[in-house]
């Protein structure tokens, strides 16, 4: 690339950024937000609403379809973005002999916590995973070397490695979202690609019981901010100092 081309190129990109902001300014709802602080995305999961429909997996199916998550049918190669796990395995420290029998059948919905202080980001040797200003912990599948250090570092089992080529194991390929290749780590991205277009995350949209609430913590009027102020909530393993942004409501 010679100098002239380079200037042209960067110029175009700069215009791109400016135009992007201009478009945001013009579209009504975004205009207010861009003048405020940045968003801080978070999710709340209501135990009581989530158990209403027994055996419901609508959110998992929606997410895994939209993001081309493969299903290998064996636990060794398993890849998951959002999944269910028994209460006592997710909240082991909050479990005693009595809650064990009481909550025996309670399956807790789990996904990447998009920690404010993510251990996976700290350990990644290539910045293939990082935390965005809006709090989403992103993955760059183009850069991941597959060392799996982040998997060892994640206290929530939220990261999955592509032990083999996933494509043959994707039931139905969603054309609008890329697949992954073997050898990289993947995880939930809080539906970053949908949020940027003004949609809710796929799991939230798929839930008929409104058990999943997604929103902006920096907006004190948002539904999630109000819920977290008024209802008792817990996080997974808060004592590890990761500050998860997925909350569980009682």
């Amino acid at each position: 690339m010679n100098r002239r081309d380079f200037l042209k190129f960067t110029g175009i990109l700069a215009i791109g950024v400016a135009a992007h902001q201009a478009i945001n300014m013009l579209s009504g709802s975004d205009a207010r937000q861009s003048q405020k602080k940045r968003e801080k995305w978070a999710m709340a999961i209501s135990f009581s609403a989530c158990v209403k429909k027994e055996g419901c997996k609508a959110c998992i199916d929606a997410c895994h379809f939209i993001h081309n998550v493969p299903e290998f049918g064996n636990p060794k190669d398993e890849i998951k973005w959002i999944w269910q796990s028994p209460f006592e395995t997710v909240f082991g420290d909050e479990t005693n002999v009595f809650t064990k029998s009481m909550l025996k059948n309670l399956s807790v919905l789990c996904l990447c916590n998009h920690c404010e202080n993510p251990p996976c980001v700290r350990v990644c040797p290539t910045k293939a995973t990082w935390i965005r200003k809006d709090g989403i912990v992103m993955m760059d599948y183009h850069r991941c070397i597959g060392c799996r250090y982040c998997m060892a570092a994640c206290p929530y089992d939220a990261r999955s490695f592509n032990w083999r080529e996933p494509e043959p194991f994707i039931k139905e390929i969603n054309r609008d979202f890329p697949r992954r290749s073997k050898g990289v780590v993947e995880k939930c991205n809080f539906c970053e690609e949908r949020i940027s277009q003004g949609f809710l995350p796929a799991c939230v949209e798929a839930c008929t019981e409104r058990a999943l609430i997604f929103g902006d913590l920096n907006d004190s009027d948002s539904e999630i901010s109000r819920l977290l102020r008024t209802r008792f909530s817990i996080q997974r393993k808060p004592h590890l100092g990761t500050d998860p942004k997925v909350f569980y409501l009682f």
Binding site: V123, I145, G146, D157
Partner: protein, 382 residues
């Protein structure tokens, strides 16, 4: 100097061919792994690091322990160590190369390994590990080679070598410290999350590394490669004995803290190592074997080993096994079980995985053989 490695007995060539065969077998298995992905290993989503990283960790220790012969020779002017110092440095060279290979075969995207350099990330211990390991490789290669070259030409080694040797001492400590920090910095795995890990790593490295050297010295002596004074072996076994004592002490200190403190998250890992769960006790023999091995080796080094070479050799082999089982298998895999979701998965390495592992040890052995052959030829004055 390298020309000396091309003249050898038929036994020497046969040995090299055997190693070459191992490397080829490993390489073919690796091609398979590249094609199919890491699914052909025993690793999975729950135990996501296995044999490769275990051997990586163990070999960093072997590499770091070169300091134990370099230090007496250069700092305390212990002249008798002049032979083993070169051997120790060459052992470090081959070990570091093996660690780099183990890391590489463990990667899901080995073609992108240079991303670690393109996007340097100081917050990641893996980045630092790469920095210190490659630095250590260069240091030891230069020091060992130049020392040997000077010996061959019967001149004093150049003056600039000594500062390099001094630098290599803290550098050796750093490679194993950084490797321990890879683990001990992770809050997700309570088994690793202990400040004692780095000291423990160093203590066990200073037991296993010199043990490997002792074994190699015996092999070289057996083949009449050069005459080794009994004193050198004695000094090395003294070092091993002290290191083993500290290693056992650290292990017991860790066990005390965990069990007296009684925090379940810390306890479950050690409990799984030593007792397992009813349906899964696969690490139990290794854990007990390691502890007993270290204890027996320690007693042997204190007693019979002083008089008998065969006991010394046996005790050294036992030490190497014990540390490999403890630091390699026990530590890496024990850290993953129970998983963060309280599962107790099994890990059984596959044939491919084992072949690749042997292949890498084959590469290391070839490098070691050639370097040692050079050292022996120079010593014998051709």
């Amino acid at each position: 100097m390298i020309e000396k490695a091309f003249k050898g007995t038929s036994g020497y060539w046969l040995w090299l061919f055997f190693l070459f065969f191992l490397v080829i077998a490993g390489f073919i298995s690796y091609l398979r792994q590249l094609h199919e992905g890491l699914t052909i290993t025993g690793m999975g989503r729950d135990i996501s690091w296995g044999l490769y990283i275990a051997n990586f960790t163990f070999l960093v220790g072997i590499a770091a322990s070169a300091v134990i012969v370099v230090l007496p020779y250069y700092v305390h002017d212990y002249k008798k160590f002049s032979v083993v110092t070169v051997l120790g440095e060459f052992l470090a060279v081959s070990s570091v190369i093996m660690t780099i290979l183990f890391i590489t075969v463990d990667l899901g995207m080995p073609s992108r390994i240079l991303n670690v350099l393109f996007y340097p990330t100081p917050s990641s211990l893996l980045f630092w590990d790469m920095v210190v390991l490659s630095g250590y490789l260069v240091l030891n290669l230069i020091i060992g080679w130049v020392t040997l070259d000077a010996e061959m030409k019967e001149i004093e080694p150049p003056k600039w070598l000594k500062p390099l040797a001094y630098i290599s001492i803290p550098w050796a400590i750093s490679i194993h410290t950084v490797t321990a920090f890879i683990y001990s910095g992770l809050v997700a795995r309570p088994f690793w999350h202990t400040a004692l890990l780095a000291p423990r790593f160093l203590a066990s490295a200073f037991a296993s590394g010199p043990s490997v050297l002792v074994i190699l010295c015996y092999i070289m002596g057996y083949h009449g490669a050069f005459y080794l004074e009994r004193d050198i072996i004695k000094k090395l076994t003294t070092i091993i004995t002290y290191a083993l004592a500290i290693h056992i002490f650290f292990t017991l200190a860790e066990i005390y803290t965990v069990f007296y403190g009684n925090v379940p998250a810390h306890k479950t890992h050690l409990e799984f190592l030593f007792y397992g769960v009813p349906w899964n006790r696969f690490l139990m023999p290794w854990a007990w074997g390691s502890i007993l091995g270290a204890a027996i080796a320690f007693i042997l080094f204190l007693t019979a080993s002083k008089r008998r070479d065969d006991v010394t050799l046996f005790a050294s082999l036992l030490t190497v096994f014990s540390i490999w089982a403890e630091k390699g298998l026990g530590l890496v895999i024990g850290g993953f079980v129970p998983t963060v979701l309280y599962k107790f998965p099994k890990y059984i390495p596959t044939l491919y995985e084992v072949l690749i592992t042997f292949g890498i040890y084959g590469v290391g052995a070839i490098i070691l053989t050639i370097l040692f052959k050079m050292a022996a030829s120079v010593r014998q004055g051709n």
